[in-house]
Symmetry: D5
């Protein structure tokens, strides 16, 4: 298993709720069955807890190193998505968090897995076009 | 009819709800009237049942072989979409499942059929842009 | 007026609700004022009634011929959209139906008309990105 | 001010609600401060009142001439959007109307203004992808 | 800190609610840790208060100069987004306001931060496609 | 056969060679075998003869009417392309002329036919990217 | 081997050289090693011999059936491309002919094979942008 | 006619040949027949003469004002393109110059006119992809 | 260094020259300075020697494994491109070969390296658009 | 003037000619007239001299710092392009070098400047599509 203790945080800069998104386009792990490399994009979205509630944000460089630690891991699409969600939820105690992994595909099938914790912050929606 | 027993499953890795999407861009069957080949894209989206409820995920290679079994089937757009939905719903007993087939078109008309079972998991929505 | 009796149907293959979309990219009629040809894309979306309720789907080749019958008709954007909606709603008695016409534009203005009958099937929605 | 009496109407062709969209990609006016030309796209969307309620649609050629009348007007983004909304709402008495202006930008900033009258016709929504 | 007193306003032109969007594609600041330049796009959306309530709009040139003032500031993604939201909310007292910053990325990760004040104006939504 | 006498010309405005391109996106004719409508895009490019040599350009409205005259013609892709090339070459006596027709496709195959008269004006090339 | 005698021709309509392109987006064959289906796009471009030299064009429907005959063939990318080139060159005796096959990819690698016969018709080039 | 004396120049900064491109996306003039506004994009490309030969570049703000001067001119596509080419060639005495105007289209036909003076600078070509 | 003996070949299927392209979108190696992973796309294009001259093609699965062998190599962009070119040229003795590597970028700069051996097969060019 | 001594080199890894491209998407300088910031993309392409001739490549991090040094420089589009070309040509003594700057535009006009030194390496061209 990847060691989540590499992840660092800093205090949220605001007492007002807001949403953060980090898209990592260079994620790779290995198929646990065949050992062949998998390539994907990992999108992390979350609303930190408020500053007065001890809310924290994930530090970007530590997030990059945490993702790189999966490079030689043998792990299924579904499992890696849930693992990242669990590690970041445990780290951040966010108001809402979502992890989406998009995989380039194998055997003509591309895949996308999305895992969430908490209710989506409906109040931050934009009027649709 | 295509034999759905080719489909295999594995236990869901999580006690928290999440959503899986598999997009198969190389699907082909035959028109039952003319025998001409049809070409389409099949999108499968589902939320597995929870691990504690015996939730399972469809194994990706068996899904590919199941789709390939339609190659010489004579079957209408509407029927193949409902058949895939029924086979996968019976296999997975998911919290929610959706099958969308997109066809390149015939006679200047392209088509898309979508079949669903269960209520969409609204709690996993992302704030729209 | 275009003769809607050219349209044919077949029984819906499912007792479960599902949605069908046909996009005809090669539609042409004439402007009733100037006689100049108009070019548009006609999108038809509907949820057939259930099989047990005598639900039917529109046969694709007859739909193509029905659209072709507008080729020499002089008819406004708004009128042709409502006519197609009315003809198909009378034919299919669907749970929901939507017709959208998109026109390449005249005098620097492009237009899109959408007509509907019935409530949209909210239960078939996909979680948005 | 631009003279809205140039706008013409015709009776709505339907007793069933429907939605009309006209996108004018060649709109130009002038900045009231500098006199420099502004270029934008004007999108008009509306649901006419029902035929039985005297519902009318805007005639397309008169709409084009109305837009052209702003060519030498010195008027701010925000003001022109509200003016078009007010003129068309007064003309059409629609069930719902929306005007969106998109401007190519000045000083590295592009802008979009949207003005509405009435409640959006939720019943005409399409199931999202 | 950037001096927000550079921002100017003008009275809203309308007694009817409407929405304004300004997209600044040429925003740059500096990373407070490394001093390296960051490049992003800043989207501001707001609904001004009504004219009768003293509603004001932000003047576009002053907004440009306010954004340029961040050029040599060392400030994190999260902090700059909240600062812009706070400065503009204090200036405009809007019915609703949203600031979205999109960053080209560092170390293979691109980021987007969105901060809001007030409830989104649902009444201005467009029927989705 | 379509009557080319509908085509009109005007004198070229220049004693220096230049190149004109007209792209007609709304061309339709009929398949001579099946009678089904074909839809295509017709691109015309030419370098008029010099003014001192009696060079002429094709008038745009007459070109539109000439294209519309093919609406009910039964004619193959290859033949219509050569016919337009021959008609316009006979009308314009250009230094160079090229006709390209792009067809949306039938039976899963899209087609493009290009016919030319004269040597391409190499001197007008742009340095490639 | 696929039987090329299914291909039909018709006389070229012109005494002037021109170029024909047919793009078949729904081609499928099988990998001779694994038996798994391959999916590709086949582009055929050629300049028929002149009418006075007995030049012929390939009939479009027979081309479609010829391509469909590869559906259950086990054949490598490189071989199928050369086979199509050889069959069509033997049929058409063209001034120039080119076959390009583009394959969706296997194991993260997509491929494109191009085979030609004769010198490319340089005289038909368009001035580049 | 538009007064070209509004155009200003500055000395070329280099003794080595190089190429300049300015793309003006907000050009408008009027049709001399109907008076209706035309909208286009004007691309200017040129290689200034060498500094030692008195080479000059066109000043960007004066170019903008020169283009704006066409706003109320009634002038055909072909004539305006040649006029801009002639004015700028007379101003700059460049090694090579090209003017391309792209028009949004009228009656379903979009147009592009390109006029050149001098031989294209082949030595500056990039190896194509 | 990566062991090129993993690469396998098969005899070229044709006595006529043709061109093969393989695009590997999932290539990764490591920066030799920092150890951080690099991600790129590797395009290989070549014309095999003729069959009568003992021409061979690279086998696709062995090419995939050869690329995967760079996963933990510390190697610069320029060096890996030349190494792949050298290995494949030594293996295939092709008439022409080209390797292009495209890298997602570091520090805001994306890079592309192209290495070639032999003269490009000009006879296979397509008439440009 | 920017100090080019910040640029570093390393020996070319190959005795065979090859081409390197670096695209910097985050370049900014200032307009020397108004002081307003300019934003552009800088593309550098070059063929290093051979290893046996002492050929060198530019080190990527030093290139990034060199570009960042223009951040507060007041310099015209044309001058900055020629300066980068001159600095890099003096540093690398390449077989061929090209600098292209693309600017987001001011007053509705976007610009691109390209400067070159040496003859383009025609031998590295790819057969065009």
């Amino acid at each position: 298993m990847v060691d989540a203790s590499i992840l660092e945080t800093f205090p949220t800069p605001s007492e007002t709720p807001f949403v953060i998104e980090h898209i990592a386009e260079e994620f790779t792990s290995r198929c646990p069955k065949t050992g062949h490399p998998d390539f994907g994009v990992v999108t992390l979205r979350y609303e930190p807890a408020l500053a007065s509630a001890g809310g924290v944000c994930v530090e970007l460089k530590s997030l990059k190193l945490y993702y790189q630690a999966y490079r030689e891991e043998g792990i299924f699409y579904e499992a890696v998505t849930n693992a990242i969600r669990d590690d970041l939820a445990a780290l951040l105690h966010p108001a809402w968090l979502q992890v989406i992994t998009s995989w380039k595909g194998r055997g003509g099938i591309r895949s996308e897995i999305r895992a969430t914790c908490g209710e989506p912050p409906m109040a931050y929606q934009t009027p649709t076009r």
